[in-house]
């Protein structure tokens, strides 16, 4: 296997005819391109808003990893639950969250997906089956196991049929050393739970290069094999490869009701968070990976096949920029949460100082649309 700084690794694939590489329709391919462009533009504007102090707290940018969220969500069904860690804007948008709710959440506005109570690290979208956005490293892995457990329980015990869902549980390579992940893998393997642990291996847990913190880092999937969990290594910089290979993994997990672990090789082009000067890696290494930009790769492949031309690409880009700009305007215009919101959503029930609960706008809007 190639090392992180191996140029071949960052530029693998792309020259075979599309028909050999994917069964996706032209519309689907264009939609993946649009989604990746949306995430990229959204994150660029997020960084600006953070500099402008419209966004507080911790903020983690997904630029560079777009093919992972887009390819993985495209590989499963909408009803399949997904859960992720704190670098979660990309997953939310790929899952179908309107960017205005995502931006308003970071602005701390009532129109945010969690009424401004969660922030950047905690994106939730019930209609789109996104179960967070979780801030504690690795904590989402037992939750993801539980989501898949629940789909299986509902399919088999409540509906009396066959298990027919999978759950996607994303984690960073830094999370593979958390105890919770080992317990989650043991339970998933033991109970035949169809959860797919997708390690977005961007090579660094904050500033710690993977080999400095993780044993067997050259073969991460060995950490699933120990639990009887099938492992897969997937190049995560090309959305066509990601979707195709993840679809095969997901189909198998769905059919067999078994877990899987994926070592998804990727790279974050920006720092760990907004305050990271990236002194732990070289500019040369970054340039190698930037040369394999997932958006450029898909664009070039589509141009080569004649599915899109330069003008159409520019139009798509312009459309996405307008969408993000209007999201920012919407988020700006959304009011701050009323002070009474401090005491809502603590308990479902209303008692003492607690004011009960209600669904946020992201849910009521989508119900009204139906």
């Amino acid at each position: 296997m190639s090392s992180l700084s191996d140029p071949a690794h960052a530029t693998t694939g792309g020259r075979r005819p599309l028909a050999d590489r994917t069964s996706a329709t032209p519309d689907e391919l264009l939609d993946w391109l649009r989604q990746m462009l949306l995430i990229r533009e959204f994150e660029v504007r997020t960084m600006q808003a953070y500099q402008d102090k419209k966004i507080g707290g911790f903020c983690h940018i997904y630029i560079g990893q777009e093919a992972v969220a887009v390819g993985c969500t495209a590989a499963v069904q909408h009803a399949d639950p997904i859960v992720t860690a704190y670098r979660d804007h990309g997953h939310a948008l790929a899952r179908g969250m309107d960017p205005k709710y995502c931006m308003a959440e970071m602005f701390g506005k009532i129109g945010g997906c969690a009424k401004g109570k969660g922030g950047s690290m905690h994106m939730f979208d019930k209609p789109n089956n996104l179960y967070g956005g979780h801030g504690i490293v690795g904590a989402q892995t037992p939750l993801g196991t539980g989501l898949a457990f629940a789909t299986k329980y509902i399919d088999e015990v409540i509906e009396g049929g066959k298990s027919r869902h999978v759950a996607l549980c994303f984690l960073g390579d830094g999370a593979v050393n958390q105890g919770a992940f080992y317990e989650a893998k043991n339970l998933a393997g033991l109970f035949h739970i169809p959860v797919i642990f997708i390690v977005e291996n961007n090579g660094y847990s904050m500033g710690t290069a993977i080999h400095r913190g993780t044993t067997m880092s050259h073969r991460l999937i060995s950490k699933g094999e120990a639990f009887g969990i099938d492992g897969y290594e997937i190049e995560g910089m090309d959305v066509i490869d990601v979707q195709r290979e993840m679809k095969a993994v997901a189909d198998k997990c769905r059919e067999t009701s078994r877990p899987a672990m994926v070592d998804m090789k990727t790279y974050r082009f920006k720092g760990h968070s907004m305050s990271d000067p990236r002194k732990y890696r070289t500019r040369e290494e970054e340039e190698v990976w930037e040369a394999g930009d997932p958006i450029t790769r898909l664009r070039d492949a589509l141009i080569e096949e004649g599915l899109i031309d330069d003008a159409a690409f520019k139009a798509l880009n312009r459309e996405v920029k307008l969408q993000v700009r209007s999201s920012i305007e919407w988020a700006d215009a959304s009011p701050e949460p009323d002070i009474t919101e401090l005491f809502t959503d603590v308990y479902v029930e209303k008692f003492g100082p607690y004011l009960g609960t209600s669904m946020p706008q992201i849910v009521t809007d989508q119900e009204n649309d139906r």
């Binding site: 457990f149 919770a180 603590v346």
Partner: protein, 328 residues
Amino acid sequence: MSERTLEFRDALREAMSQEMRANKRVFLLGEEVAEYDGAYKVSRGMLEEFGPQRIIDTPISESGFAGMAIGAAMMGLRPIVEFMSWSFSLVAADPILNNAPKMLYMSGGQFGCPIVFRGNDGAGGQLGSTHSWCVEGMYSNVPGLKMAIPAFADDAKGLLTTAIRDDDPVFFLESERLLALKGHVPEGEHLVPFGQALVRRSGDDVTIVSFGRPVHFCLEAAEALEAEGISCEVIDGRTIRPLDLDTIVRSVKKTNACVVVDQSWSFGSPGSEIAAQIHQACFDDLDNHVMRVHSADVPTPYAWNLEQEYLPNARRIAEAVRSALYVA
């Protein structure tokens, strides 16, 4: 009509079984709950009735199975998680404190967590310090969870039924020392609402407030004090979150003296919180400050005599009552 008598543990099982019959979304998981019939036989026979998909033996892996159950609850299932001992929940602190009670808030109302965590709490019998945790001291600090702590068999059934039907996460604290306690337990549906304390013994001179196992120490002390001519009113709080302050205040306004008995350590405890709330609500009614009796502020000892002295026992409660009433 003869009253049916059940052990506390059987009352717990009856609540779980009745709810599982009524609602397929309810299931039980934990260490040894299925084939072993429960480490303390609370779930005896449930595997036979409900099968292995709903009575689930887990490995010794509290963080994993507690987190897994929380994920399942987010999807609308209603798991009952048995901790063999609440002492073992400490290794699951992140899921049970960081996820379950905060999920509704952090998701802006999108994902609740209808889950029950239950198991033995407090000193068992010479189990030593690591196995004798009174988690109400730490966990009651966290908003978003409810906490029930029954002292009698009928409440064990009634409070657990309420807990299973509750849409919020419930921390349900049992006591190994009470599991064999017998009492009248209604046969059919039996619900005890949260936030309603019960006056276990009426009296005029002093209000004694407690919850869980120490309620029995309080009743024992009240019996002894009656011989000295001191009339004690003993209140069983039954739930810590929500707390029924009204019943306590009503009693203190009558007796003008109060002792709070709490088996957790004193520093930052339910006992200190309740005492503070009573001082605030009854400042002009009190003839003395509120006295508190807690477990001794040391790790739980093994030796029998030390453990007995460590507990908020009847002798220490009686001393606090006399002190509250200025009886030398």
